[in-house]
């Protein structure tokens, strides 16, 4: 499904500010995998996601989705096969456009945009039906400007937009990190539900160990630009936060001191 081969990303190469964000990363996702990607600040997890999404060009290696090499494809072209939700709720939606207009943009992802009307009446039924799944009451506010919604509502809407056209790969980049704990849990539960119902291949970056263990069928841990742990299926089901801390210490030879990762 997703095949990442020896991907390296170096920021500001050959300058004093050179920073090797990720180095020689190789991993594969199977169809239907729900993978949580965890790591401390600066471990390279967001960079990896952005390299897959095409935000940054890679310095070496290749990214292949379903046999299609997308390594050098422009960001907007990749979005045909990718659904993305960002950390910042502001990033995923157009604030000055209505809820239905945002959904209409998402519905046309990967299609040629022409001079036909931006939203058809038929679509509105689909949007209402889909918004009902969020149970936030947004189905009765189709015309409301997205800028008037709360962070949690916007993130839920972005999630819906990312999955409205079934993506081959769903990328969630710490999409609950900017929300309050209760809203974060709601959005996570919703993500899990949508992913399971549609059997979406998903890569979810998170800061939170509990969430990384609770959700998905596979866990990857990054440290200093490398994947240092890969825990799957049965093994993952039995995993606890304590196990993860011990195994991190074994692999990296360091004490895990990043408080943010220990949160909750």
């Amino acid at each position: 499904m997703l095949d990442v081969k020896k991907v390296t990303k170096i920021f500001n190469p050959r300058t004093v500010n050179e920073k090797i964000a990720i180095y020689n990363i190789t991993f594969k996702l199977q169809k239907g995998d729900f993978v949580t990607l965890i790591g401390g600040n600066g471990s390279g997890k967001s960079t990896l996601l952005n390299c897959i999404a095409g935000v940054y060009p890679v310095n070496a290696g290749s990214v292949i989705i379903d046999g299609m090499d997308i390594t050098n494809l422009a960001e907007y072209k990749r979005s045909v096969v990718l659904g993305r939700v960002f950390q910042d709720p502001i990033m995923g939606t157009a604030a000055n456009m209505g809820i239905e207009e945002n959904l209409a943009l998402a519905l046309r992802r990967g299609q040629r945009r022409g001079l036909s009307w931006g939203i058809s009446n038929k679509e509105r039924e689909l949007y209402k039906e889909q918004l009902r799944i969020l149970s936030l009451g947004l189905e009765n506010r189709l015309g409301t400007k997205v800028g008037l919604l709360s962070g949690g509502q916007r993130q839920a809407l972005t999630l819906l937009m990312a999955t409205l056209k079934k993506p081959k790969l769903l990328l969630l980049d710490e999409h609950t990190a900017a929300l309050d704990p209760k809203t974060a849990q709601n959005v996570l539960r919703l993500s899990d539900k949508i992913i399971k119902e549609n059997n979406l291949t998903t890569l979810m970056v998170t800061h939170n160990m509990r969430d990384a263990i609770k959700y998905g069928n596979r866990l990857l841990m990054m440290h200093e630009g490398q994947i240092i742990l890969d825990i799957q299926d049965d093994e993952k089901r039995k995993l606890t936060v304590e196990d993860l801390l011990i195994r991190f210490g074994d692999v990296s030879g360091e004490e895990l001191a990043d408080n943010e990762m220990l949160l909750s």
């Binding site: 999404a53 979005s79 157009a94 000055n96 456009m97 046309r108 022409g114 001079l115 009307w117 931006g118």
Partner: protein
């Protein structure tokens, strides 16, 4: 007095088209596009040359529109493909257009006296010049408003709006933001050129200097329109732009009437726009001031 007001109304209607062009880049694409100062002259120059050569005035306006599209295309390519900041890209095109406009006209100004313009038809029907300009201006503004209202509701139009609103999100939804920015700049400058062509015909000459300050006048009209006439939805916004452009002209006519020297007009406009643009800063300053005063009690 009535004569002054109807003069301001006629000029305001023609400048409303320029204002709509400025609005498309400034508000919808979030780009302050200085190309406008050159493309308004390009429109005037093309129309003037075409009309003096005996080409139908309406066709001449069509040619002016094409000229504006090209001007916008150049700024768009400089900005998106060559990654030049939008402000600088606009300035580069504007400077280049100065020479191109001189080339088009062959000299610094062209007189349009005693030739048939778009206004001639109504003047022959017995309307005076100002009334003819009002009729033509209103027709153009309303039909362009209608076309734009339709266009920005289409899939492409929505993609342009999304690009200005949140380019990151637009790319994530598969929109080629380079193309939408170029298209937006083209349409904007095409409209500005139409405005230039109509203005030149109404004042009976095209002049290489006529674009100076056009962007500021456009911005002033946009802001006046938004403040006085609201910005609820897209349609009402387009109408407020027209009303804003007219109001600006009325204000100018009044201050001139009150005795301000015409040479100080640009300074007056610049100060007005600077104040209008900085209103949010003053507003937040006053809010904090009020709060701290309340605490002091």
């Amino acid at each position: 007095m009535l004569q002054i007001l109807s003069g301001a109304l006629s000029l305001g209607l023609l400048w409303a088209i320029v204002t709509i062009g400025v609005y498309l880049t400034y508000r919808i694409l979030s780009i302050a596009d200085l190309t406008v100062e050159g493309s308004i002259v390009t429109g005037a120059a093309i129309a003037a040359v075409a009309i003096t050569r005996g080409i139908n005035p309406y066709l001449a306006i069509g040619l002016a529109f094409l000229g504006g599209l090209v001007a916008g295309l150049i700024t768009g390519l400089l900005h998106t493909k060559l990654k030049i900041p939008s402000l600088l890209a606009g300035i580069l095109t504007l400077i280049g257009l100065y020479s191109i406009n001189l080339r088009i006209m062959g000299r610094a100004n062209i007189s349009l006296l005693r030739v048939n313009t778009v206004y001639t038809f109504f003047e022959n029907l017995g309307l005076d010049h100002t009334m003819s300009v009002i009729v033509i201006g209103l027709t153009f503004v309303l039909s362009l408003t209608g076309i734009l209202y339709w266009f920005f509701g289409t899939e492409i139009g929505c993609a342009i709006r999304a690009t200005g609103d949140n380019p990151q999100m637009a790319r994530a939804q598969g929109i080629n933001t380079n193309n939408t920015i170029i298209l937006g700049l083209m349409i904007s400058n095409g409209l500005v050129s139409i405005g230039g062509a109509l203005i030149a015909q109404s004042q009976s000459f095209a002049d290489i200097q006529m674009g100076i300050g056009a962007i500021v006048i456009g911005l002033a009209s946009v802001i006046i329109g938004e403040v006085l006439f609201g910005k609820r939805n897209f349609y009402s916004r387009l109408i407020s732009l027209m009303l804003g452009a007219i109001t600006y002209r009325v204000i100018i006519a009044l201050v001139l009437k009150l005795g301000m020297p015409a040479n100080d007009l640009k300074l007056f406009t610049a100060i007005t726009v600077a104040i209008a643009l900085s209103l949010p800063v003053f507003r937040s300053y006053f809010i904090t001031l009020k709060k701290s005063l309340k605490k002091g009690e």
